[in-house]
Symmetry: C2
Amino acid sequence: MALKRVLIVGAGLIGGSMGLALSRRMPHLEVDAVDVNPAYREQAAGLRAFRHVWHALESAPSDYDLAVLAVPVDAAIHLLPRVRGKASWVMDVCSVKRPIVEAMDRVLTGSRGVPSHPMAGKAQAGPLGADEALFEGRSWIFLETHRPPAEIEELVRRLGARVVRVPDAEDHDRRMAEASHGIHLASQCAVLAAEMDPAAIAEIAGPAFWDVTRLASSPSEFWIQTLGANREHVIAWLRRFEAAARSFRAALERGDAAEVRILLEEAKRRRERADAARNTE
Amino acid sequence: MALKRVLIVGAGLIGGSMGLALSRRMPHLEVDAVDVNPAYREQAAGLRAFRHVWHALESAPSDYDLAVLAVPVDAAIHLLPRVRGKASWVMDVCSVKRPIVEAMDRVLTGSRGVPSHPMAGKAQAGPLGADEALFEGRSWIFLETHRPPAEIEELVRRLGARVVRVPDAEDHDRRMAEASHGIHLASQCAVLAAEMDPAAIAEIAGPAFWDVTRLASSPSEFWIQTLGANREHVIAWLRRFEAAARSFRAALERGDAAEVRILLEEAKRRRERADAARNTE
């Protein structure tokens, strides 16, 4: 297969950014988009990245090589039966993989499914936030159970991303609970734990406060869907997170400095192990 | 009072950075240091910031205008009786204020105490981490109950810091639990909640993971003392933090997306309120 025609389904932040990067870096591709939101369609047209921006999937032709579902997880599952047959390959970019893979395996006949997940995003949603460099240096995760063709891996590399393969959807979702979904909740809990006026905290806060609480500004809609779709792993993570907080509290209540040290050293050891793995990539 | 002679007690990261900045920006000052650690003394001498680096407080003369206790909170309390009489003003830079203020009010006679707290630090401890720009743009907190003379506020501004006054030690310590001490524990708990190999998480982690868990690499010794010295407020913060995590978990267990939305929106509202206060300083 050689990729020639690509359809981006959903011209939001991810879809718009993919469109921008593909039109500039792979100009031989014909890239179309489809979005049901008239404002998004107008903004997406303004990016000058798409050959055509369709208003509905049904209007688009059925001879694409690749369709990318760049919509939230619920919408992606909903659209799968309708995108079937529009393209040889159908790739999603959702933050949770198990419900997507289950739907792909059930629904897609006549097209091949490529579950994927680029670790990229930013606070500003929609095509106005689109950025050609959004994927630069980021991981783009695929599953060993659904390996993409070489052409799709190459496309992802041209977007600047690093191809990472994990064993399966279950492994992906568990890792996401630990590397992303739980992390976002930690940030939100750190904000919700305060009882003083946020302005009084801001007056004296240093970089630690701003870095750790930054994610509390994330778009709620995305997170409601993501946490719901990965609830089993997120719930298990939250139990362990609460237990860690209780351990610190119990040690402080007992005035047990030795136990506080053990907890701090264990966290430090793990963080440094993660950092070492990151730096030796 | 005009500041002419300054003694930095403890030539670590904070003391070394103060020495560097003062020697370069206020060259009319005579700045000495004292440190009991021979390696720190040698490294501090290498900074070329101090006129003299004493090996013990008792060796230093007793005619300083200002002595700065740049040591951890337990050491500062321990040193207060011995620094009394060495300088007209004695300022500490510790991260917790109530035990310092209690000790200053009890011990310091013949010198005047200035409890203070610069919101600055970094992972590398000791004089080798010293950085003239460490305080640039950071808050330097004083207490209304122990207002410093204009000369000390001016010195702090010359270091690049922003003078902030809070009502008293109690208010300071409560704010610190919310803006810093609790925040560090949130970062540590986010690391401790993971059950996968840190290297497996690092492979797919995005900026969210690295930002939120960054503080888990902080020096344990400092945090054991700080958390212990502010335990009452930190314990109360941890209770609220655990409650926030339980609220998220309960909502996910019930599949209650509306409640998840309420929690996310409340965190977002508070974070944005803090951000607005920060940007209108």
